[in-house]
């Protein structure tokens, strides 16, 4: 089974358990009599990146139980972007010279959103990878984020296809007359949608324009589909629109972060 089949409704018979391995995440969904059980565990070993199998027994996990008074027999999974902004730290500091731009491809772990039938949408969300917390701002004021290290690939051909990551194409433009040194950048993932390409999952394009140390940087997330890999099919909606408040806060924090 190709991992792209995961985004279609999956039927589960009563008393059956579906076990899904997606990267380090092992997700188990069990259908009982008018109730569903969901459990997740994580392994250190990412050898088996993707598998789906039906098992007869209920593994010994910490289950959460969903009682539903309707005979629902299918589960629907959607990929989503993380529920908090991501502080992305390249493996080594990056220096962008004046009037240069660069396109990074950043693999971001997806969150699996679980719906039961068509009525009970998004009853649970499970991250494919458990990310560490990080803080965006000063110790007295800021925003709780996730931390992620990335190789921040420059070439499409260097990208590996992971079924538990979506690629964020992110362009950085330095329109100032000074060098832009940065060790980390912030991705506001609530504005990112997930598309299915032929090989990988993609999100809409992000772009930041650095205009100098004393000026706010402008961050824009494109509304259109990403021009890569035939990624035209929307499989995961954005969590929240590009509201103005978020953007203003992003400018502020971006300035703070690149001001190293």
């Amino acid at each position: 089974m190709n991992y792209q089949e995961l985004w279609k409704p999956i039927k589960i018979e009563r008393d059956d358990t579906l076990s899904i391995q997606l990267g380090p995440l092992n997700l188990a969904i069990h259908r009982g009599d008018m109730e569903w059980h969901i459990a997740s565990t994580y392994s250190q070993n990412e050898q088996e990146l993707f598998s789906v199998r039906k098992i007869d027994e209920m593994p010994d996990h910490d289950w959460t139980r969903w009682v539903i008074n309707e005979p629902i027999d299918e589960v629907v999974l959607h990929p989503k972007m993380p529920d908090r902004p991501l502080i992305v730290r390249p493996e080594m500091p990056v220096c962008l010279l004046p009037n240069q731009s660069v396109q990074f491809y950043i693999g971001v772990p997806i969150w699996l959103s679980i719906s039961l039938g068509s009525h009970f949408r998004d009853i649970a969300e499970i991250p494919a990878i458990k990310l560490s917390n990080s803080w965006f701002g000063s110790p007295t004021e800021g925003e709780l984020c996730y931390a992620m290290r990335t190789t921040a690939k420059l070439q499409l051909s260097d990208l590996q296809g992971h079924p538990h990551r979506a690629v964020v194409p992110f362009e950085i433009r330095n329109t100032s007359n000074e060098k832009l040194n940065f060790e980390r950048l912030c991705l506001h993932t609530n504005q990112l949608r997930v598309y299915q390409g032929e090989e990988r999952m993609w999100t809409n394009q992000g772009r930041v324009t650095y205009r100098g140390e004393e000026k706010w940087s402008r961050i824009v997330y494109a509304r259109g589909i990403p021009p890569y890999d035939g990624a035209e099919k929307l499989i995961g909606k954005a969590r929240g629109g590009a509201d103005r408040g978020t953007l203003l806060k992003t400018f502020d924090n971006w300035k703070h972060l690149v001001d190293i």
Partner: protein, 283 residues
Amino acid sequence: MDGFFLWTEKYEGVIIRCILLLGLGLPLVQLAGYLIRKGLKKKLTLQSVMLLSKGVVYIGSTIIVLMALQTAGVRLGTLLGAAGIAGVAIGFASQTSLSNLISGLFLVWEGPFQVGDVLQTDTDHGVVHSIDLLSIQLRTYTNKLIRIPNESLIKNSFTNITRFPIRRMDIPIGVAYKEDVETVMKVLREVANENPYCLDEPEPVIIFQGFGDSALEFLFAPWFAKADYVAMRNSLMIAVKKRFDEEGIEIPFPHRTLYTGAVTEPFPIRLVSADAAPPAGDS
């Protein structure tokens, strides 16, 4: 009976005006207090809203009652004169209450804490349960209620533990003198990196503090979101112990060396076989 009817007939208009004033005025004042609490809940702090609404209710009620008395023909000048004399006497008797009341106003103005914050005073520790005119109430973690007069909060220092969204947890750690300092610091850094509750930014503070009586002493101080205190403390302590065990890093207990009087001479030791009879006195 006839006298009563004659009196009511004579003062019918006054009685009706007084009843209207009290019957409509007092509920209106209460309504004003309610609207202030509802309307300003999101714009001002909880204690400011409480103070404003109570102030409006108390002052408004006093004015309504005074108006009713004036309508009934009571001479307010005489009444206020008597109230002034009584006020001086009451003032002397209630110095502490007034001091608490004024301290409460200063605390509201300063706003060093809110309902739900965790406060640490010299003697008490708990969550702010309510902020009243004369005192605040703390709910301890053992679910007891402590009343602290506002005056003592103004006079003494206290710590608001949850004022800021992130905190640093300072954990002193000691390892045996034989351990490699750099290895210990590396292991601690890895433990922090692997724990999802430890913030990646600001970076965890790891300091080699010095040479203690029985151990090499380190300060391990990762940052965390204030809601994750218990989850991080438990998971981190378990992880540190586990990793130290895996790496063979010894956490020492206090050592005490005994001398027999001359430092150069060791204890005399006599070897006995396992099946030898126990020394006299053992049973």
